[in-house]
């Protein structure tokens, strides 16, 4: 009897140890939706799905939640990092923000953009890239296989990402994005578009938006030599900017002659409601974000409204204020920790979808009560690119950067010898048939031509070769903070194309891929109260940078060209 007891106890202990060790390594999946009213009467909806798989060495090849197609992709091509985005529309940096985590990571050039870092020897990277493009074109129903030819991709060194030499970057500016690209993207999710937040994705509503961008980001430590093995992480985001339909109340004019913003709800912008969470997800949340600018305007409104004897607007009750009202009380209100000064901060209202079901769907409504006008935080420079000259006569590409109003010293500028300097990188790829003459580079600061060496810290040029490779330019510039505008011009000639090299719709012309401007010294992040529960939200933890990394994370607004 005693022996049996001892045996049973041993078995129990063993099983508990086994399950304990197993439970440390688990696949995780979480889904989130961020809604944000934008300054120009539009609404931003940002879906974020994150899936994590433990390392193969300890967990094995079979996964429950992680999509098999991507796992096999990582294994076959030995991918360390990869990002693929499908975008239509242009991100309006002035109205929608240029200095927040969403715009820095989700404002993508139109068309298809793909970059990948491989863990293979240098001579095999190009072959891996070719096979990767073909596989992705079959997986996502797009012509990504056009990136296989050497005229379509480039190998940036430091201008795009601070990585080593096995990064390949390619972009197809004219690629159409439609339902057939979203279908396989959704099929990678454990619940697909049948349950959870992805049920909101009504295709006509998404593609009616002013901007829509679906992004897939893979990072793995399967093949690297890092000590910390974190397995494979997959981030899928869909960012849509929608225009809610105006209601009758909008016709009311107010004292300041401004029109009330249109009220919206999930069912009015998507035509659907959330009828439950995806049961395979660890967390399924909806967030509504109120920007700093909007928050400060609301405080002013509250002060005017209540008179001088009113108590301060407590954040717990801000979801019902004189400016707007949310139809459902949030589960939690998260306030940003403002380490600079304790003025207004970003507020997030969190909703947990666990309690909602088919019989009681989640339909959040946002009703504006008073017209409010605010502005979003801007990047240090506002960039635009255009062509000068006509045809072959003095044709030139010009990148123009204008300083924006600094929003209350939000960014840390690099101080060198007590003088404030602004640093930024420019990365531009131009197809071979636009023959850029790099020796004609001119820099105009505040309208006056300057010597190139005064402002350019370093530059890497890869001149184009006819029908072989595009022209790549990576430039690091440094300017004093007081500069108002910078313009870079490069002259070009048009190359000669054979008749079979023209696309079938040659009347529409050719698109040059977007250039990327990045600010290595600035970080776009939001700091929240250090709380364990926040770490469970992948969206918020991506927004939140731990303090030790302040100042090292870069923000990358892209400059778009049509």
């Amino acid at each position: 009897m005693a022996a049996v007891l001892r045996f049973l106890i041993a078995v129990l202990l063993f099983s508990s140890i086994a399950t304990a060790s197993l439970s440390q390594e688990e696949e995780e999946f979480s889904e989130e939706l961020l809604l944000k009213p934008l300054a120009d009467r539009k609404v931003l909806a940002h879906f974020h799905f994150e899936s994590k798989a433990p390392p193969t060495r300890t967990y094995g090849h079979h996964h429950r939640l992680f999509p098999k197609a991507l796992y096999q992709l990582v294994q076959k091509f030995r991918i360390r990092e990869m990002e693929l985005s499908f975008t239509q529309g242009r991100w309006n940096y002035e109205r929608w923000g240029g200095f927040d985590p969403i715009s820095s990571s989700n404002a993508k050039p139109p068309g298809v953009e793909l970059w990948a870092v491989f863990d293979v020897p240098h001579d095999l990277v190009d072959a891996s890239w070719k096979n990767l493009t073909h596989t992705l074109s079959g997986l996502f129903c797009a012509s990504i296989n056009f990136l296989e030819s050497s005229t379509a991709y480039s190998a940036p060194d430091w201008g795009f990402q601070p990585f080593s030499g096995s990064l390949r970057y390619g972009s197809l500016p004219r690629e159409a994005v439609c339902t057939e690209n979203l279908t396989p993207w959704l099929k990678l999710l454990p619940c697909r578009d049948k349950a959870g937040l992805a049920t909101l994705m009504d295709r006509p509503s998404i593609y009616r938006g002013f901007y829509h961008s679906q992004r897939l980001r893979l990072s793995s430590t399967e093949f690297g030599s890092t000590e910390v093995e974190s397995g494979i992480a997959l981030d899928q985001t869909l960012t849509v900017v929608l225009q809610p339909t105006t209601s009758h109340r909008a016709s009311m004019t107010y004292s300041s002659d401004s029109v009330l913003q249109p009220s919206w709800s999930l069912s009015s912008i998507f035509g659907r409601k959330v009828s439950g969470r995806c049961v395979l997800a660890n967390s399924s949340n909806v967030y509504v974000q109120v920007e700093r600018g909007l928050m400060s305007e609301l405080k002013i409104l509250h002060a005017e409204d209540e008179g001088s004897g009113a108590d301060n607007l407590t954040f717990e009750k801000t979801w019902n204020n004189p400016g707007f009202e949310l139809s459902i009380a949030p589960n939690r209100v998260i306030k940003e920790v403002n380490i600079l000064h304790d003025e207004t901060s970003i507020v997030l209202y969190e909703y947990l979808i666990d309690n909602y079901s088919n019989s009681e769907p989640f339909d959040l409504g946002f009703t504006w009560k008073f017209p409010v006008v605010w502005s979003s935080p801007q990047a240090p420079l506002h960039a635009s690119r255009f062509l000068m000259g006509s045809g072959n006569e003095r044709g030139a590409i010009a990148i123009s950067l204008k300083a924006t109003e600094p929003s209350d010293g939000l960014w840390f500028a690099d101080t060198i010898e007590n003088s404030c300097m602004l640093r930024f990188n420019v990365f531009q790829v131009v197809p071979w048939y636009v023959r850029v003459y790099f020796h004609t580079l001119q820099v105009f600061v505040d309208g006056k031509p300057q010597s190139v060496t005064d402002f350019i810290e370093r530059m890497r040029i890869s001149p184009s070769e006819d029908k072989v490779s595009p022209g790549v330019m990576e430039m690091a510039l440094k300017l004093p903070c007081c500069v108002k505008s910078v313009t870079l011009t490069l002259e070009f000639d048009k190359g000669f194309l054979h008749i079979d090299e023209y696309p079938p719709d040659a009347n529409q012309g050719f698109d040059i891929p977007s250039a990327v401007i990045s600010f290595p010294d600035f970080h776009a992040s939001m700091h929240f109260l250090k709380d364990d529960s926040l770490n469970k939200s992948p969206l918020l933890s991506k927004f939140q940078i731990p303090r030790r990394l302040v100042g090292l994370v870069s923000c990358y607004p892209s400059c778009l060209l049509s």
């Binding site: 239509q88 070719k130 096979n131 073909h134 596989t135 074109s137 079959g138 997986l139 129903c141 797009a142 012509s143 296989n145 056009f146 296989e148 690629e175 159409a176 994005v177 439609c178 339902t179 057939e180 279908t183 396989p184 578009d193 295709r203 006509p204 998404i206 593609y207 009616r208 696309p503 079938p504 719709d505």
Partner: protein, 448 residues
């Protein structure tokens, strides 16, 4: 006595010679009429829209209508190759984003939620089209972009766009000519990439596109004949362009009445086209096609309805070829007889399964042919007679099975044939039966 021996020796020689020629004829007949020896196992659809630009919206709607029909009737996305030369649904000129309509009542959104386009935009070229058909791709091309058909596939090839006398225009920049298409189909036949192929073309002068075909097993229909134009059906004033072509509109009208379980035949589909409504003559050619159109259900090409064979135990499928032969050769009039034969076959199956020592009898069909052929002189061999003999097969198979059970250990089939020869020779010499007796089954029965 001596003359009798000489007669027997002479007969032996004749039998040996006919054995050799029967082998070759049997093999050639089996390869030529492959439809009788391979089973129809899967359906594929290759849907091609070759037109670019917004004013060719209707060609996209045509192709998507067929895509929707084919998916609805059972062919999965993995077996459909959809080639769309331009993007209409998310086109900046489309007032209804992510929606494509083929009717001005806008009841049906053809684009839906789950569309998968394999070749799109600039990828739809004559080169890629021919690569898909012939299966000659670069190694990196993924499986979803390949036509992975085999000798048991029925393929539906639908092409729409702008065409003319012996050509089809691809994206305003190149042409596919009728002899190119015929060559590609011939390559497909050589490589056994299809069992039967249905080509449907909706362009102007469509029938000229398949005028050069000469591979067997191909059925083709075009929306108009040489010198005729194909017209669009109606204009949608909301979208701003014509939304569907007449031929496809009436094809869809036919299919919308169907579901997966209907067995409307191809002849009713082809007969449903009214030249007055189409404003052109829908011409089809069936000279390369062996089966009669009344017997072919439309789901053989447009859907994916598979015959299920019920088995008692898992993992021991019966030889599908037996039941398939019975199904193909009997016309619909003999439905009663079909049931009989089906039950007989299934009882055969039972016998085979219950007898645990039996090997799966993939060896049955050709050799039963051969043994019948021995009984008659091979110079009389014509398809008709073989058919009649095959009707007897159901009855004979039972006996054959018992024979095979005994001969289970024989691996080398040639030895089996030689044994048969040796056994049969003295009997033939003795009985000296005539053909009429054999047809009723008298002589061969005793042998087998």
């Amino acid at each position: 006595m001596g003359s009798f021996f000489r007669f027997r020796a002479f007969l032996l020689l004749i039998l040996a010679a006919t054995h050799l020629c029967c082998n070759s004829i049997a093999h050639s007949s089996s390869s030529a009429s492959s439809s009788s020896t391979t089973m129809h196992t899967n359906n594929w659809a290759v849907l091609v829209c070759t037109s670019r630009f917004w004013f060719n919206y209707r060609h996209m709607a045509n192709t998507l209508s067929l895509y929707r029909t084919v998916k609805r009737l059972g062919i999965p996305d993995e077996r459909i190759i959809l080639m769309l030369a331009d993007d209409m649904a998310c086109n900046a000129r489309n007032k209804y984003p992510a929606q494509v309509f083929n009717n001005e009542n806008h009841k049906l959104n053809l684009y839906g939620d789950n569309v998968e386009v394999d070749y799109r935009g600039y990828e739809v070229t004559v080169e890629n089209f021919l690569r898909v058909l012939t299966g000659r791709h670069e190694t990196a091309v993924p499986r979803s972009k390949r036509l992975l058909s085999d000798e048991g596939s029925h393929i539906l090839l639908y092409m729409t766009g702008h065409g003319g006398d012996e050509f089809l225009k691809f994206q305003d920049s190149e042409e596919l000519q009728s002899h190119d298409l015929a060559d590609a189909v011939k390559q497909m036949k050589e490589k056994r990439r299809f069992k039967e192929l249905l080509i449907m073309v909706d362009t102007c002068q469509a029938a000229t596109l398949f005028s050069q075909l000469h591979s067997p097993g191909v059925l083709a229909i075009g929306s108009s004949m040489k010198g005729e134009n194909s017209y669009s059906h109606h204009l949608d004033s909301d979208v701003g362009v014509s939304v569907v072509d007449r031929f496809t509109f009436y094809t869809l009208a036919f299919f919308e009445r169907l579901n997966m379980y209907d067995n409307a035949s191809l002849s009713s589909l082809f007969g449903s086209y009214n030249p007055n409504m189409l404003m052109s003559t829908a011409y089809y050619r069936m000279d390369l096609y062996q089966r009669r159109l009344e017997e072919v259900p439309v789901t053989n090409f447009f859907g994916s309805v598979m015959e299920t064979i019920h088995t008692v135990s898992a993992y021991r499928a019966p030889s599908g070829k037996n039941s398939d032969k019975d199904k193909i050769k009997l016309s619909l009039d003999q439905s009663v007889g079909l049931d009989e034969r089906r039950t007989l076959t299934s009882s055969n199956v039972q016998d085979q399964i219950n007898d645990s020592n039996t090997k799966v009898s993939s060896v049955i069909p050709p050799y039963s042919y051969l043994h019948i052929f021995f009984c008659i002189s091979c110079s009389d061999l014509k398809d008709g007679k073989a058919l009649m003999l095959q009707d007897q097969l159901g009855l004979l198979e039972h006996l054959w099975c018992t024979f095979l059970n005994k001969a289970e250990k024989i691996e080398d089939v040639d030895i089996l044939v030689n044994y048969g020869l040796v056994i049969m020779f003295p009997l033939v010499a003795k009985t000296n039966c005539k053909y009429e007796d054999l047809s009723i089954g008298g002589c061969c029965r005793t042998i087998v």
